[in-house]
Structures are given as structure tokens and as C-alpha cells.
């Protein structure tokens, strides 16, 4: 909704961009204020802001794809395992342990991982559209299958000796921003443009809002659903590649710890509706930052790890509550 409404009003660009995300922007600002007051010296330091962006990037990118699936009326619970698969695929093809100097150039390996991600998304889309499975079930099933494929194919072993030209991605910066965060920003803009300005993007809204109406209007449900889940697969794959670069190794369990839930939480905190047809890229972007800011700031102020995670859970609930109740007025 947030985004929906914004585009028509003739206001300035900033107010256009941020209309509808007001409540969560407030939460974000509140968090920043709290942490700045307590430990501003550390929290607001350039280093920490870089860290914050770097550590949000993977979830931020996954959440972009997730938002598309949510708008389209479903979820992608295979996102985390797709991250893992992409990480292992890119490791396998570049590792010096598998072949001297890697099987293929880094760029090609990344491409292969992205294609695998797209393929996973495609299968999800087909199961959902042609199989008529609820997205929840289709993607849980796929999650299990992908995770176990990783274990089978790569024998549940860590793949080491990745080329530094690859792992350096996680260390470098462009314009003072970590490369990973930069990729995330670029993908966010691409996703925003796609959702707002391409027929495909609009079809996602139409299908999520009312699939039957969309079908009667001649929108191909199959193309739209496959497209949305493929987009999520590709985003997860990119997230997986970056995460792998950051970890410096292909770790089979990469992406297994609640990555899906965090991506969903980011989208929903950002105003996406689990019943479909509603969601915004800017909201998701802010949502992802909020969740990571709590963790980042919480650790800086030396909070107990369990209490901190508990607050993350509470903030998810509160943000959505806040959004619902301010949205309806």
C-alpha cells in the first residue's frame, strides 16, 4: 500500500519515496537515537555503520526477493537453502581444493550459482502454479530437498581454498560503502524499478491481490508466479554468493539459520501483507535495517544475547502492530 499510494500524490520525491513507511521510519530513528545516546561513540562511528550495512546486506538482498513472493501472495521458505546451495556451487567451481586454480573463472561460477537459484525458483513457481500447492508447503518441501541435496552432492563437507579475488568481494568498498552493501543498494533500486515500472512488477501485485481477476484479465499466472519465485531464487543466490565470499569457505549449513524468517520479517515489518498484493521495496529495505540495527546496537551496549534476540522478536510484533494500527486510520 505504502508504495501504491505514494506514486500518485504530486509531492516531492522524498516525500513520495517515504510516504507510507512513516511508522517504521520512526522506529528506525528511535533505535538510532537510543543507541546513540547510550554508546554513540561506537554506534555512530563510520566503521560501525559500515559493519551494519555489511551485515544487513545478505538479509537485505534475500528480503527483496521475498517481498516479491509476498506481494504475489506467497512466501519463499526455500530462500535459506537456496543461499546455501549457491554458496556451495560457487565454492565448488572456484575452489583450489577441487581443481588447481578453480574449475571455471569466478565470474562464470557466480553465473552458474545464479542459474541454479533461478532454476530452484522456477521449480517453486511450477509447483505453486501448476501443482496448485500452497507456497508455504511447496517451498518447505523444496527447502528440505535442497538442503539435503547440498549434503548429498557436497558430502556435507566444507569447501576451502576459495580464490582471494572472490573472497575479497566481502572486504572491499566502493565509494566508502562495502561492496556487499553496494550490491544490495543496486539490487534494491532495480527491484524498486521493476516493481513500479514494469508490467511484470505490476502483474505480481495483480496476481497477489486477486489471482482470478488477474487470470480473467489475461495475465499469465504461470509466468508471473514463476517470475516472482525465480526472482527470489536469484536474489537468494546472489545473497548466497556474497555470504560465501564473506565466510571465505563453502559451508554446507550456510543460510540455514532462520534466514527465511528474517527475510519475511523484514518484508512484513516494512509493510508487506502476508495476504498478498501489498508490499514495498523501501519498506523492506528499512525493515531489514531495523532488525540488524537492534542486533548491532544491542551487542555494542553489551546486552545479553538471549535478551537481545527476544527484543528482535518483540520488535517484529510491535512494528507490525504499529503499522497496522497507524495504517488503518
Amino acid at each position: 500500500m505504502s508504495e501504491e499510494k505514494s506514486k500518485t500524490t504530486g509531492k516531492s520525491l522524498t516525500s513520495k519515496l517515504f510516504s507510507g513507511v512513516g511508522p517504521i521510519l520512526l522506529i528506525l530513528i528511535a533505535l538510532f537515537v537510543v543507541f546513540s545516546v547510550i554508546r554513540g561513540d561506537v554506534f555512530l562511528s563510520g566503521d560501525n555503520i559500515q559493519d551494519l550495512l555489511l551485515s544487513t546486506a545478505v538479509n537485505g538482498i534475500t528480503a527483496l526477493g521475498m517481498t516479491c513472493c509476498i506481494i504475489c501472495g506467497g512466501v519463499d521458505l526455500a530462500a535459506g537453502s537456496t543461499i546455501g546451495m549457491a554458496a556451495m556451487v560457487v565454492s565448488y567451481f572456484t575452489s583450489g581444493q577441487i581443481a588447481e586454480g578453480g574449475l571455471v573463472p569466478v565470474f562464470v561460477a557466480m553465473l552458474i550459482a545464479v542459474v541454479v537459484g533461478a532454476l530452484i525458483g522456477f521449480i517453486n513457481g511450477i509447483l505453486i502454479n501448476d501443482g496448485g500447492l500452497p507456497p508455504f508447503i511447496a517451498t518447505i518441501g523444496m527447502q528440505i530437498i535442497i538442503r539435503q541435496s547440498i549434503n548429498l552432492i557436497f558430502e556435507a563437507r566444507i569447501i576451502a581454498q576459495l580464490p582471494t579475488e572472490f573472497t575479497d568481494i566481502a572486504l572491499n568498498t566502493v565509494f566508502g560503502i562495502p561492496v556487499m552493501a553496494f550490491v544490495w543498494f543496486v539490487l534494491a533500486i532495480i527491484t524498486w524499478l521493476m516493481i513500479k515500472f514494469t508490467p511484470f512488477g505490476r502483474n505480481i501485485f495483480a496476481v497477489g491481490s486477486n489471482a482470478e481477476t488477474a487470470r480473467l484479465s489475461g495475465i499469465s499466472l504461470r509466468a508471473t508466479r514463476c517470475g516472482a519465485w525465480m526472482y527470489s531464487g536469484v536474489m537468494s543466490a546472489i545473497a548466497g554468493i556474497l555470504l560465501c565470499a564473506r565466510l571465505g569457505n563453502g559451508i554446507p549449513s550456510t543460510g540455514s539459520e532462520n534466514y527465511e524468517f528474517m527475510a519475511i520479517a523484514s518484508s512484513v515489518v516494512g509493510g508487506a501483507s502476508m495476504s498478498g498484493g501489498e508490499g514495498s521495496v523501501i519498506g523492506t529495505f528499512i525493515g531489514a535495517i531495523i532488525l540488524q540495527t537492534i542486533r548491532n546496537g544491542g551487542i555494542i551496549i553489551g546486552m545479553n544475547a538471549h535478551l537481545l534476540e527476544m527484543i528482535v522478536g518483540a520488535i517484529i510484533i510491535i512494528a507490525v502492530l504499529f503499522d497496522k494500527n497507524s495504517g488503518s486510520n
Partner: protein, 506 residues
């Protein structure tokens, strides 16, 4: 008028079977350019199914479709659209979270030279069509924020905008008030003059005589006859549809005023309705008339406890009651048949049996234990009483035709045996036969001394039935007319009611 010209579309011997139901048994039908061809029949006769076959929503089990003499297989709605077929469906909504303009172009969004969506063009074009049709809706509004009536108009405007060669209207006036019906008819005439073939489905027979050229009658999925409208009359048509004569269906018995069952004092919900006061009596039918958006639904929902209101008092049987929610209203003997049966009246995915009993399980259970035998008995009883067409009591409501769905909702409330029954547009989408039955039912309820509040946007109905008629305009009570005031010498004085409804006070 090109009545004698070749048909644009011809359906030949169409058969459609659903599991357990043979919805169409060989229907033949054609439309010529520039004609308005009515399709009539009882609820469940197969009208909607026929047009869905035409539009590629359903694949016919057998039969052929010819367009301009060439046989075509319409495999999906997209193709139907490319072939120049457009439809305003009875039961398909717009994409609620998209804007009006976007809904115009959904599935076929215009692009700029960079391949992105051309928003400017979308809003300009959509607004142009809306303005041309005098529909007071902003193309940039989100559909969710429109009333049902407005959404309906948007649907029609969208089809007009697509410049289809054949346009199907499936009960377009069901949710419109008189004024809007007038606009719609003007519109249909204009489209017709452009040489478009129009298929018009309605349960309001007088409309057919107002605007249609030919009429085809379906009964139980079978083709009965096609007639020129000017060669027939309403009674003959009814006989073809129902298989028996129906004399004036509004001619029900009226009963003397009983005690005051419901009294409302200064009911106000800011911005929706203000200072509404009225009394309703046992054995009486209180009509509530107004244009779409007048706020009648909201008033009744407030009385029923379904909506909050800001101030005012509600008395039931002389006692002031503080009704917090529908449950407490039901306990005090108030029932409400909501206007939007799909969203508020039925659980579409559940059975007829379930829907009939869902408001009154407490009445047929002991110590939290439902008497299943009673449950089925009641369902069968009301199916029989209202002649609901359903293969079994286990049929899912979504597989029933619109009119039969409405009968299920009525059955649900009859199970509760309330003292005050509010009927919000009870005959929308209901065929003449069933309408007559509903009116008889209302008569029977008043005979039992129940108090009926009847909301309708359909003037003949409300004037025909009501003992007293409230006219609401923009949330204000414009006046209350007694039957003697709007029935002059056995004739209806429509003008006065319409004037009040338009907000012109006396």
C-alpha cells in the same frame, strides 16, 4: 439497427458439465451487431456458465463458438479479449490493492519506449473514460477504497474502454440505484449505437423491456426460446422462465401495526450518518430507501453491533440495550442479512449444511454437543421451503449460483428465529420466482408478528412491500413516508421518494 445482419457471435449447442452437475444442456444463442440481447432464466439456469464458456473461463464440454462465421476455440480470457469479447462479471471483483487506472489495463499495461509502465497514459486514458461515462471516481484511487457500486461502475467502464465488439453484462444493475441505472442505460445505448453486440443478463424483467431487442430464455441449463422483445410481455416471459404464472409478486398482505419492536434515537456515526431516529413495529415492514452510498448499510450494521457508532440509543422491545457485538444483538432477537453475501453472508468454501446452521449452533446443542440430526433436518427443511437448487446439503456454497447462495443466507437467519430482521438488499441477483418466494416469506414473517426492516435500492420492490418507507440521503434521514403517502390510488408515487433520496428536502 442491424437486427437482420449476420451475428457477430454464435454459440451452437453448448454443453457444460461440472462434477455432478450438468449446467448447460445444449444451448444455442447468437448476438448481432448493434443489438442488445437479453439472457434470462432462474437462478442456476446456466446464464453465468454460458458466458464463462464464451469468455474462455470454462471450456465447454461440447459445442462450437463462431465469431463472424468462423469457428473459434476460446482457450483463455486473454484470447477472448483479443477476439473482441468483453465481460462485466456478476461475481468477479477488481484487483483490490491496485488503482482504478491500473485495473483498466491489467494484463495489458501500456509501455513507454523504454519498456516501463506508462503511468501517465494509464491515468489519462482511464480518467477520460470515467469522465465520459460520468463516473465520479479518481483513476488514481485504490479500488479497495471504493463502494461496491463504484467498483461495479469501474468494471463497466473498463470494458467500454477496451472497445470490445461484444460486451456481456451479467446483472450490472443489481448493485446500482435508480440514478446510476439511468446512466448505465444511456451508456449501453451509446455502445449499441457504435455497432457493438451486447448480451444483457438481469433478473429485473422490466429492464429488458426498457432496453433489449431480443431475449433468450434458459431453464435448468436448457435452451427454451428466443423472442423479439416487442413480440412478448413480462408475464409470458415469466411463464417461460418459471414454468408457471406469477401474478403481481409485490401483492402481499399487510398487517396492522403491533408494538414497537425497535426504536432508534439520534444514532450518529460521524461522517457516515447523523441523528437517525426511527421506530419499527411488529408485523410491519419498514423500508429503507436511498441511493448507493447513502449509509443505510452502516446504520443497520451499527444497530446490529457490527459497526461502532458515536452516539445514540437503541431500544429493543421498549428496553434500552447496549449492543456491543453481533452476538449480543442476536441474543436480543435482532438478525441482519448483509448486503454482500460472498464477503459477509457465506463461508463459500463450506457446505450448505454448515452455512445454514452456523449462526445457531447454540440452539441445537446441549452441553456443547451438537445434535447432528437436527442440523441436517433444519438444512433439508429450509432447502425445501425455499426451493434452493443444490445437489446435496454437502454441496459447497461456492458451487451454487448467486441466487441460490442468497437463499442459503436467508435460511441461516430463519434458523435463528429473530424478532427484528434486517434484510439488506435481499433480492440482489435473485430470479423472479425466488424473489416472489422471498416476498412471501417476508409476508409470512410479518404475519408471525416479526418486525422487518428492508433495505433496497430498487424502488418498485421497496414501494411494493413496505408499510412505511424511510428515505436516507448522505447519512441523513430525509423523511419517512407512510404507505398511504406513496401509494396514491393503487399507483406508486416514485417521484417523491426519488426527490428525497437525492437530498432535495420537501
Amino acid at each position: 439497427m442491424g437486427i437482420e445482419s449476420n451475428p457477430i457471435i454464435r454459440l451452437n449447442n453448448i454443453v457444460k458439465e461440472f462434477p455432478g452437475v450438468r449446467a448447460l444442456k445444449g444451448v444455442t444463442f447468437d448476438v448481432r451487431p448493434g443489438e442488445i440481447h437479453a439472457l434470462v432464466g432462474e437462478n442456476g439456469a446456466g446464464k453465468s456458465t454460458l458466458i464463462k464458456c464464451m469468455m474462455g473461463v470454462h471450456e465447454p464440454t461440447s459445442g462450437e463458438i463462431y465469431l463472424n462465421g468462423v469457428q473459434q476455440r476460446v482457450k483463455d480470457p486473454q484470447q477472448a479479449r483479443e477476439l473482441g469479447l468483453g465481460a462485466v462479471y456478476q461475481d468477479v471483483n477488481l484487483a483490490q490493492s491496485l488503482t482504478v487506472g491500473e485495473n483498466f489495463f491489467i494484463g495489458n499495461l501500456p509501455k513507454t519506449k523504454w519498456g516501463t509502465v506508462n503511468w501517465k497514459y494509464i491515468y489519462k486514458e482511464a480518467q477520460k473514460t470515467l469522465d465520459e461515462l460520468k463516473i465520479n471516481v479518481d483513476a488514481k484511487d485504490t479500488v479497495r477504497h471504493l463502494t461496491i457500486g463504484q467498483q461495479e461502475m469501474v468494471c463497466i467502464a473498463r470494458t467500454v474502454h477496451e472497445k470490445a465488439k461484444v460486451i456481456i453484462f451479467d446483472e450490472p444493475t443489481a448493485l446500482l440505484a435508480n440514478e446510476e441505472v439511468g446512466i448505465l442505460f444511456d451508456l449501453i445505448h451509446r455502445i449499441k449505437d457504435m455497432g457493438v453486440g451486447i448480451i444483457y443478463i438481469s433478473h429485473r424483467l422490466e429492464e429488458i423491456f426498457q432496453i433489449c431487442d431480443r431475449v433468450t430464455v434458459l431453464k435448468d441449463g436448457a435452451y427454451v426460446e428466443t423472442l423479439n422483445v416487442k413480440d412478448t410481455n413480462q408475464d409470458d416471459l415469466v411463464k417461460l422462465m418459471v414454468g408457471r404464472d406469477l401474478t403481481n409478486m409485490y401483492d402481499i398482505e399487510h398487517f396492522p401495526k403491533g408494538e414497537c419492536a425497535l426504536k432508534v434515537e439520534n444514532l450518529t456515526s460521524k461522517g457516515v450518518f447523523e441523528n437517525i431516529s426511527f421506530e419499527a413495529y411488529k408485523g410491519q415492514i419498514l423500508g429503507m430507501f436511498g441511493l448507493v452510498g447513502a449509509g443505510r448499510t452502516e446504520i443497520c450494521k451499527a444497530i446490529f453491533g457490527a459497526d461502532k457508532f458515536d452516539s445514540g440509543k437503541v431500544f429493543i422491545n421498549g428496553k434500552e440495550e447496549h449492543i456491543k457485538n453481533p452476538r449480543s444483538a442476536m441474543k436480543k432477537g435482532v438478525a441482519l442479512l448483509p448486503e454482500d453475501r460472498k464477503k459477509e453472508g457465506l463461508c463459500l468454501g463450506l457446505s450448505v449444511d454448515f452455512n445454514t446452521n452456523m449462526a445457531s449452533y447454540d440452539l441445537i446443542s446441549k452441553c456443547c454437543w451438537i445434535n447432528l440430526k437436527k442440523e441436517h433436518e433444519r438444512t433439508r427443511h429450509y432447502i425445501k421451503e425455499m426451493e434452493t437448487k443444490t445437489p446435496s446439503i454437502k454441496q459447497l456454497c461456492k458451487n451454487l449460483s448467486g441466487g441460490n447462495q442468497q437463499k442459503v443466507v436467508i435460511g441461516k437467519w430463519l434458523c435463528r428465529d429473530a424478532d427484528v430482521m434486517i434484510f439488506d438488499e435481499p433480492t440482489v441477483g435473485v430470479d423472479v420466482g425466488a424473489k416472489a418466494e422471498i416476498y412471501k416469506l417476508i409476508e409470512q414473517l410479518t404475519r408471525q408478528g416479526k418486525c422487518i426492516i428492508l433495505i433496497s435500492s430498487y424502488l418498485p420492490e421497496i414501494m411494493g412491500l413496505a408499510d412505511e418507507m424511510m428515505v436516507i440521503s448522505e447519512g441523513k434521514l430525509m423523511g419517512t413516508l407512510d404507505r398511504s403517502e406513496f401509494m396514491k390510488d393503487g399507483k406508486l408515487d416514485e417521484e417523491r421518494a426519488l426527490r428525497l433520496a437525492s437530498g432535495i428536502s420537501e
